[in-house]
Symmetry: C2
Subunit: 250 residues, 2 copies
DNA sequence: GGAACAGCCTGACGCAGCGTCAGGGTCAAG
DNA sequence: CTTGACCCTGACGCTGCGTCAGGCTGTTCC
């Protein structure tokens, strides 16, 4: 097939296909002797995947790495896309509900608080953070469970969760500042409390999974930042304590 | 409120708010003596609207014109957003269905045709054409009816519709090339057939609405183009014939 | 009261993902 | 062999910000 035909079929412009060729995202598998791009069925498959991921908000470069990952078979992509699409459905219906809530409030002459109105926005970043999380946690039950549970939490729940997390944080700080080693029983007990807190609020967190989390605390800036903000060196301390605790439990 | 607070509340960056100020999309209603941006509650309202429209894919410039339209009250925006969000829900669930269909086909070892696979993509352009259509037709019943009916059409239906439209087109061409005036009974009869075709396939098209459509045929390039492609001067001819017919009917 | 640090300001440059010419070959139909 | 539709490769432009740089402001803590 020629570019024009492919473009018409897929609902994109010829220029877009040129662009995808240029950046190496989708190069036609052949050319005629006169230089015309020739797209094979396999190219259409790939284009289809590209468009789906693009629609989901992935930057093209990331789409390329996803599709070029030899470990990811087509079915894995389909499952991922399916999940992301359903997340989007949830988000969109939440927005619909928010608009309806606002319409109702207006018709009754009530004003909503700014917080209520922006609720549905704050911190979404659909294919950014989510994409990373799911790259790490993939289709695991934990991820699904967490999603399911947290969806039902009220504002009060979140306040309590945050308070609990902060309390554990300060316990870590106290342990560290008291001079107790990260592998000490004291520190490990706090780590254990942390694990149980996660299990209670988010998903059944096994010691192994907790150890994985521990590694993340030093590898991932976002986590590092929150702990380092409480006390310098805390991220490493927590990470070590959590892994020591996992070893003890295991 | 300062920029930082607003940014945190709305889940955007400070840079974004600077940008919106610069392009005149959302300027804070005040500044402190030292030049700090001060956002009032009304500014938050506007920001909220901006973010919703942005999420729906509108270019910022269009968002500005929408929000600055003095004829559009807040409720009109809410209704419009509600409709667009629901369109998006439909589209997304169609994509979910498509992915599920493909997963099923794969698990049974069947391959889908390229057309089937791209079906859900072709010609969507969510907030482009749709936005214009609804700007003209707004919340009218006609628009809703058309959406509802066409959603259920099969590929065969569309083929028949297209054939019918083309036949009417050629009848117009013949009338014009035979030398019949656009206001002649002959041309008006074709116009009447056109109106009834629309009523049958899309929505109850009254003569008045048809006259409105007629005006659009010369004002809107997209329509002009399709008719002009059949024969030069045809767009104007059709437009005149349709309006004459409306006058005759009325 | 001053030092430190977070937060604000205004440029200015950069980048992704194409749209849109410009200038020039190619190919099927008549 | 010409015409018109389609293809090619640059190359520049545009949107919607991200990301410094360089410099004021405002609060807090000693």
């Amino acid at each position: 097939m020629n570019v024009g035909e492919v473009a018409a079929l897929a609902g994109v412009t010829v220029r877009t296909l040129h662009h995808y060729d240029r950046i190496g995202l989708l190069s036609p598998s052949g050319r005629t002797s006169s230089g015309y791009r020739q797209y094979a069925p396999a190219d259409l498959d790939r284009l289809h995947q590209v468009l789906l991921y693009r629609e989901l908000g992935f930057p093209l470069e990331e789409v390329a790495t996803l599709l070029d990952d030899p470990a990811a078979d087509p079915e894995a992509h389909l499952r991922r896309q399916h999940r992301l699409l359903r997340d989007r459905l949830d988000r969109t219906s939440a927005m619909v509900a928010a608009v309806e809530k606002e319409m109702e409030a207006r018709s009754m002459g009530i004003a909503l608080t700014p917080e209520e109105r922006f609720e549905v926005f704050g911190e979404h970043d659909p294919a950014q953070y989510d994409a990373e999380v799911e790259e790490r946690w993939g289709d695991t039950d934990a991820y699904a469970e967490s999603k399911r549970k947290t969806a039902a939490y009220s504002k009060e729940d979140w306040v309590r969760i945050k308070a609990e997390q902060e309390e554990i944080g300060t316990r870590f700080v106290r342990a560290m500042q008291s001079g107790a080693a990260a592998e000490s029983a004291e520190a490990m007990d706090v780590a254990e409390a942390h694990r149980q807190s996660i299990s209670r609020w988010f998903y059944a967190c096994s010691p192994e999974m907790h150890a994985g989390l521990g590694r993340m605390y030093v590898e991932d800036e976002r986590f590092t930042a929150t702990y380092e903000a409480m006390a310098p060196g805390l991220a490493q301390y927590v990470s070590t304590a959590v892994q020591a605790n996992a070893a003890r439990q295991g």
